[in-house]
């Protein structure tokens, strides 16, 4: 298939960016979206134009590095990561726009690459269980009811790609935080720090410049791992409980 791509080019964080138009031909529907961009980059390189910078690493939907706004949707039209989006999801002759994640808390580094360091700083604020190496009790000492274990696992599937933020009209990171808080709150090991964790993470979230949640629901629609919106309810419930205590 042949496609027209309108791609955001921006040489650096302090430079002005703009949309540039490129044509690609003979694209097979078995290619992933990123393999299609690889081909475009090979063509640009051959012409002496600098290739388009974009993040990707595992290319199997788990590392969370990749992430593009494709025709206005985070990770494109399917519920998956950009690296697992295949060209069979597009039609011959289509015009596709490709932009980086848009959020003040995710500044653009170059072209389609953004800085998601704010996510790491939110985890630093309390997204962990404090246990030093070597001081752990026997693993089966604290049984976890299966429904709790399953819900913890579901929330723990978050890959930290940032699609939730990019999709949210407020650029809120509540789904990302809700996932982490839910993962740890569902487990007996997560209880001692439950209150402190949620308060500290929410503070850091606001400090980083993410917006507030207004229950739009675009985040869970865009989430490639299908993290449901109700993790935000858990987050809010935990926050209210913590502030009351």
């Amino acid at each position: 298939m042949n496609l027209t791509l309108k791609i955001w080019r921006q040489p650096g964080p302090r430079h002005q960016g703009s949309m540039q138009t490129y044509k690609v031909t003979d694209i097979s529907e078995d290619m992933s979206f990123l393999e299609m961009l690889d081909i475009l980059n090979e063509q640009l390189n051959a012409k002496g134009e600098e290739p388009i910078a974009f993040d990707s690493d595992c290319r199997e939907g788990i590392c969370g590095s990749c992430g593009l706004m494709i025709s206005g949707k985070a990770h494109g039209p399917e519920k998956t990561t950009t690296c697992q989006l295949h060209m069979r999801s597009f039609t011959d002759g289509e015009v596709i726009t490709v932009e980086p994640w848009r959020a003040n808390a995710f500044p653009v580094i170059k072209d389609l690459v953004v800085d998601r360091g704010a996510f790491d700083r939110i985890i630093q604020a309390g997204g962990y269980i404090s246990v030093n190496t070597g001081s752990a009790p026997e693993a089966n000492a604290a049984p976890v009811p299966k429904p709790h274990a399953d819900r913890a696992f579901m929330a723990a599937e978050c890959i930290g790609c940032g699609a939730c933020v990019a999709a949210c009209p407020n650029a809120s990171a509540m789904l990302f935080m809700g996932a982490k808080v839910t993962h740890l709150s569902e487990l007996p090991q997560g209880q001692p720090e439950r209150d402190a964790r949620v308060v500290s993470m929410v503070d850091q979230h606001d400090h980083e410049g993410f917006g507030g949640c207004t229950n739009v629901g675009a985040c869970s629609q865009a989430c490639p791992k299908g993290i449901p919106q109700d993790v935000i309810s858990t987050l809010n419930k935990d926050l209210r409980a913590a502030l009351r205590r």
Binding site: A46, G64, T80, G117, D120, G134, L187
Partner: protein, 665 residues
């Protein structure tokens, strides 16, 4: 047989040096060694720890857990990764599980059995003392991870569940659906971020290590490039840990992440660290087959699928293009169950891979033709779905089935999956002693980057175990002994060795940007990958390897004359990053071929056509090759000259286990 095997020993490609006499494992019975070593390792007073700096390169299971643990202990840790966050290290992609000798199933497991299975699975080419320790600390890993909140699978009583993996007959694998690596890595990452908040660890993301600083024979720092600004930075320390993963991407197509590379290890090798058994590559039997020329990587389907999936191909070639559901039972060849009745579909990875290749070579492969061959075999869940119900199958493997459907456009609940072997993991890596110290004092190597625990073939669910064993439990104990010898002579940024290391990084970068030739970096990488897969992949021969060495030398010469890297040095430049990595792969590839060439025996995943039994199984030669091949670099100009490597042999001494020819029949 022996005559052909011994013919033409070196071809002048390498020379032989002094053997390695001592691995520093303590004396005494194997079950006491680790206890002895921990006791004998000198202590560092807590007040002195904060005066000691440790650099850790890589934030996967080994590097992340080591950084967190050393941070907790109170050392000053600097942690480096080329990704935008430590959470994205490639350990995150591991699917199936992590082994531990907990014996929760009461099915006869023990530390000794895990040790035995691992040594046997590695075809008796791993170091016995290290493997025993790995088995010994395995149970602690599970405790640690559960305490961190890793959501392992549980049964209805709330206790941890297990499953089995290839090469073993007990259920000792702990798992979190098909995302075990992700969950373990997030655990280590969170422990690491906790230390960042505590101020003991500083993380440097989007930084790539390009050189080791060696002063007075000791590793004292690294030179890195800030991948965003392009700035070349010097970081000095009292010890350096490399936990930078494996180099399977030398094959271009592999299950590794796009960024996985050999540069950190290769730069250390060039500075004096021995590279051990570089040709030991694991070919994983359950990958989604190649679909075309455009492909950038291969996707693995967890080996755990072999617990319930049955592998088969048609008995008759004429049936290969039929809908598999129309092929009756009597016309199917469940070849693993037929050849290996006691292990069946759970034979180790090297055996499952080789048999898949054999049936495809016979013309009985399935799926689309790639070239003249169909390269695929069926992995069929029809029986399991009938026995357990679709819901139970989906509960166990759902995300893998979804992933398969997304990539191939086929529904694996209805049509059998197609799989084929692909490059997955490397057992070779930098040589380390019992303390995980390389041949450069002060340079430690952990996880996939070292060579020690898997021999010629790694059993499933052992990579995660080794990464976390090294990072949480082994290295923090052994590095302490080294650091107790501090303070070392102070080193500053203007020391001649530091200046020289910086300059060599600078001149390589400038040279790569100045070539401005005709060919892209990727085109060189693809071509190298094809040579490696063809001649140094699942099957090797003397003739093929000699040809590969010629081809690689030609390609390397062309690379330094004709590669085109656009853009500038002082900005994010992904082509430049890749060019540096491919330059190193082009050197490593030749060393892998030399290593494969000199080892005239078949072992594990390394199948030499000149050395096989009458029924086509791998034939080892313990009398000649029961050693680790540790290669020393002899320099070169840094722009593609390999020099003539020197081979140092470390004899593999088996005292707790008797060497045997492997059998899974």
């Amino acid at each position: 047989m022996t005559d052909t095997i011994n013919a033409g020993i070196t071809h002048g490609l390498y020379t032989e040096g002094e053997p390695i006499a001592d691995t520093k494992a303590p004396a005494g019975p194997i079950a006491q060694m680790w206890t002895t070593r921990r006791f004998e390792a000198a202590l560092v007073n807590p007040a002195n720890r904060r005066k000691l700096d440790v650099i850790i390169v890589g934030t996967g299971l080994a590097g992340g857990s080591a950084a967190a643990t050393l941070g907790e202990a109170g050392y000053n840790v600097k942690s480096f990764c080329f990704q935008d966050s430590p959470r994205r290290a490639h350990s995150i992609a591991a699917q199936g599980g992590i082994n531990a000798a907990k014996n929760y199933k009461e099915d006869g497991d023990s530390v000794y059995r895990l040790f035995y299975d691992t040594v046997k699975g590695g075809d008796y080419r791993s170091r016995e003392t290290n493997v025993y320790r790995l088995a010994e600390v395995s149970a602690n890993i599970i405790d640690q991870c559960v305490a961190q909140g890793v959501p392992f699978a549980r049964d209805y009583g709330g206790l941890l569940d297990n499953r089995s993996f290839g090469g073993v007959q007990v259920s000792r694998t702990f798992y979190a659906r098909g995302q075990t690596g992700q969950q373990l890595l997030i655990g280590a990452y969170q422990a690491l971020e906790r230390q960042v908040a505590a101020g003991t660890v500083t993380t440097y993301t989007r930084h790539e290590m390009l050189e080791v600083v060696v002063v007075d024979g000791r590793a004292r720092g690294i030179i890195v490039r800030d991948l965003v600004t392009g700035e070349i930075e010097t970081h000095l320390a009292d010890a350096v840990v490399l936990a930078s993963g494996g180099y399977g991407n030398v094959f271009f197509l592999s299950t590794n992440a796009m960024g996985s590379n050999v540069t950190a290890s290769w730069r250390a090798h060039r500075k004096g660290a021995y590279m051990a058994n570089p040709c030991y590559t694991q070919i994983h039997p359950t990958c989604i087959p190649v679909s075309g020329e455009h492909q950038s990587k291969l996707t693995l389907m967890s080996e755990s699928l072999r617990n319930d999936g049955r592998i088969w191909v048609p008995k008759n070639r004429e049936d290969c293009d039929k809908d598999p559901r129309d092929i009756p039972e009597e016309d199917r060849d469940y070849y693993l169950e037929r050849i290996y009745p006691s292990y069946g579909n759970l034979v180790p990875r090297d055996i499952a891979s080789r048999q898949a290749k054999n049936v495809c070579d016979e013309g009985r492969g399935v799926g689309p033709k790639v070239g003249d061959f169909r390269r695929g075999v069926y992995l069929d869940f029809a029986d399991a779905i009938e026995r357990l119900g679709q819901e139970a199958v989906s509960e166990k493997y759902g995300n893998l089935f979804d992933m398969y459907a997304r990539i191939t456009g086929e529904d694996p609940y209805k049509v059998p999956m197609r799989i084929y072997p692909a490059v997955h993991y490397v057992m070779g890596g930098l040589w380390v002693d019992y303390d995980l110290q390389s041949s450069i004092p002060g340079l430690f190597v952990a996880g996939e980057a070292n060579f020690s625990d898997h021999g010629a073939n790694r059993l499933g669910a052992s990579a995660l175990m080794q990464g976390l064993a090294d990072g949480y439990f082994v290295l923090p104990n052994t590095i302490r002994d080294y650091l107790a010898k501090a303070p070392f002579e102070p080193v500053t940024a203007d020391h001649p060795e530091v200046v020289a290391a910086r300059q060599s990084v600078q001149s390589r970068t400038e040279r790569l940007l100045a070539i401005n030739g005709e060919r892209s970096v990727d085109s060189f990488h693809r071509e190298l990958g094809q040579v490696m897969w063809e001649y140094c992949g699942m099957e090797r021969s003397e003739e093929g390897l000699l040809k590969a060495i010629d081809l690689i030398r030609g390609l390397r010469e062309e690379f330094w004359r004709n590669v085109r890297v656009l853009g500038a040095a002082d900005t994010l430049n992904q082509s430049l990053e890749r060019a540096g990595r491919v330059a190193d792969f082009l050197e490593l590839g030749e060393l892998m071929c030399i290593d494969a060439l000199h080892r005239r025996e078949s072992c594990g995943g390394h199948f030499r056509v000149e050395s096989q039994t009458e029924d086509g199984e791998a034939l080892r030669h313990d009398d000649e090759y029961a050693y680790v091949a540790a290669w020393e670099s002899t320099g070169g100009d840094g722009f593609g000259e390999l020099g003539t490597p020197v081979l140092h042999k470390e004899d593999l001494v088996y005292e707790a286990i008797q060497l045997k020819q492997r059998s899974y029949k």
